[in-house]
Symmetry: C2
Subunit: 416 residues, 2 copies
């Protein structure tokens, strides 16, 4: 493939054989989101630079920015910040406001690392309530969405930023350095514990504190062990208990508490969560509570929580069936007969139908029908026309039937 | 609304009450496109600058461009150029390749003029065939898509760039100046005939030629009159006759020939068309044949034709019903009862259900249900729980029924 026919590095073209399946997956996810009471919303791809500014921590450098005349713009980095902006500007939306956004986000990662720089996010968020019931509902909803796609053996890792904060305090990390420590912790899986420790020390976390922190992180998962070594504030413990209680009520059983879970973005304040499957490398869904993000726009405190399914990553790893076409019947004219009225009748009856636009012979047309994996062909010659019939050919068996158009429509409608 | 909660100028946020309806409209359009044998495809928002370069004529200055590291990128201006790029790079897609793309495009118009700078395009294209049957099929497909949305009294204006070329030659416009004359002609509705004439002259078209051209443009619509004053090449006339014949076969009757139709983009080579409705200002769909665009990427000639529905413009003008929510039932706990298992049962049965996340009282919750326009509420107190029943309330009539959950599910599934 010549370079000039390639998409931008780290971005993908989705040909029909991928996109048909992808859109069906999106439909399934939408259906789950709507069942859970989330309604669709959409925001522009571009945001003003000041909207995107200083909300993503160090990941901010990954924003695709541009100048256009006197405007400073950037492609949205996630759906959360634009949602916070919209909610702050539309108080009539009420409380709680449950919305979903299925849209792309753009991150200027190094494409060499195999990371996509344009990817689809399937986000659900609940704004306006502090209740951890809302956190649990988000997880339940995302869990169902992932499973509907066919992912098996899903597990959720769950934690709260409040516990991470207790933890860092116990390790002797100063309050003002917590942000840097969290960013480094989030990278452990990517860069390894040594590099993460080094980063902490470079950011001024202190050698002893960084060391204690790394040692304790190994006890992940076991809350009772964690409790022995960390001073957990009673309110934090109570909140964790509540979250676990609600998760069970929502029917989510596939979760484990993980004290080492941090998540990269600076805006998280409470519950955080990530989903994994042994079938797929990396996390397939994640999110958390961000109680102080909306107030950057609204000036009043608006608690919020949300999460996202990484559809493209999931579809890449799943053994998805590819589908070349949704066309059910291909109409082939014989000996100069005009097939347009027949194809239009099929379409009017709701059947996906196509016809020869290349003025090919019957043989070539049958070959095309078969290559495109279209299940039926209709052959239409002067003889059929005279009898007011069509010849319907099952491409799999080769069996042909002489039918009226109405009979052919009935037959096709029964099958599909 | 404070400035910092606004989207980028000329771009729009779609709140649920708009987006629910918008997504339903997109679903309808997709259904029509697929019935006509077009399959979905998607390309990234960003393209390399050299992909976007020099294919849009003077409109190129409207491309949102950015530098990212050593990359020069731009937001796609339409779906046609990216499609040409993809098709050139994927010869396995075969001939013809019929695809649709429903995606946004970005144009840096002056937002003062009321034009959107981000807008949704619903595109169908057929690549690989010269047949004007394909042009007619595109028009038939777009016509059905527009009507499915509820637009009434649709008329198509139809012409071919070849006739425009004959026309300009008859007026004495030199071949090398035709492009400039066409661009000016395309602006007549926007800037008026005087300014258009002036532009032609400025671009070197010649005063007499420009004058003749403007005088003749007034005879639009009447092909027989046109024929008297213009030397139409026989091949062009034959092609026009064929197009009209095919349109009729496809069942399209609502079209008129219009010699003044040009369309702005430089890449058109043959049939061009635009749809109008007296209900809506400006064109609501349009497109044309572009036989030399794909070869810029493929190096071999690949004829192509396509068109687009302007969904956002249509929805803006239609008296669309707004829908606040798709939630069918809101579950309200009484006296500390936990309502989660009930709401999960409803969802499992496929019913869009929601529940109180604010720990509000019954009165406030009923008020919320009514304000959100949710048609049913379920009241769940200790008494109902003991009887293993729920109280289903019709929010419109206020009528309440004591039912088992199964009965409630059956009732709701029957209604929706």
């Amino acid at each position: 493939m010549a370079a000039e026919t390639q998409p931008v590095r780290g971005m993908r073209d989705f040909l029909p054989e991928q996109q048909i399946f992808r859109e069906q997956a999106i439909e399934k996810i939408k259906r789950v989101f709507e069942k859970y009471g989330f309604m669709p919303m959409q925001t522009p791809a571009l945001e003003n630079s000041y909207t995107l500014g200083k909300k993503y921590g160090e990941e901010e450098k990954l924003i695709f920015r541009m100048k256009f005349g006197d405007e400073e713009l950037g492609l949205k980095y996630d759906q959360t910040v634009p949602t916070a902006r919209v909610y702050a500007g539309n108080p009539q939306l009420g409380k709680p406001f449950k919305r979903y956004v299925i849209d792309r986000a753009w991150r200027g990662e190094r494409p060499q690392a195999g990371r996509l720089r344009e990817f689809l996010q399937c986000d659900v968020d609940t704004l306006g309530t502090k209740s951890v019931m809302a956190d649990a509902e988000i997880i339940a909803c995302l869990d169902e969405a992932i499973k509907v796609l066919g992912v098996k053996k899903v597990t959720w890792r769950i934690n709260t930023r409040k516990l991470v904060s207790n933890f860092l305090k116990s390790c002797g990390v100063a309050d003002v350095k917590q942000q840097f420590a969290m960013r480094a912790m989030d990278k452990i899986d990517k860069i390894g514990p040594d590099a993460a420790t080094k980063e902490m020390i470079e950011k001024g976390v202190g050698e002893t504190a960084a060391g204690t922190c790394m040692a304790l992180l190994k006890t992940k998962g076991d809350l009772s062990k964690i409790k022995k070594s960390i001073l957990i504030e009673p309110a934090v413990e109570k909140e964790l208990d509540e979250l676990i209680k609600y998760l069970k009520k929502f029917g989510v059983k596939n979760f484990t508490f993980d004290a080492s879970l941090v998540r990269g973005l600076d805006y998280y304040t409470g519950t955080i969560f990530e989903a994994f499957s042994p079938e797929i490398k990396g996390s397939i869904a994640g999110g958390g509570r961000y109680d102080h993000l909306v107030e950057l726009f609204s000036k009043v405190e608006i608690p919020a929580t949300g999460g996202s399914v990484g559809l493209d990553r999931i579809l890449e790893f799943l053994a998805t069936k590819r589908m070349k076409t949704l066309v059910k019947v291909f109409v082939i004219p014989i000996a100069g007969v005009n097939a347009i009225p027949v194809v239009q009748q099929l379409r009017k009856a709701g059947i996906n139908a196509d016809l020869d636009l290349m003025e090919r012979g019957v043989g070539k047309n049958l070959e095309f029908t078969s290559k495109q994996e279209i299940p039926f062909a209709i052959l239409l010659g002067p003889e059929e026309l005279k009898k007011k019939k069509v010849k319907l050919r099952d491409m799999k068996t080769g069996k042909e039937q002489l039918l009226t158009i109405k009979q052919a429509i009935d037959k096709l409608n029964k099958i599909f």
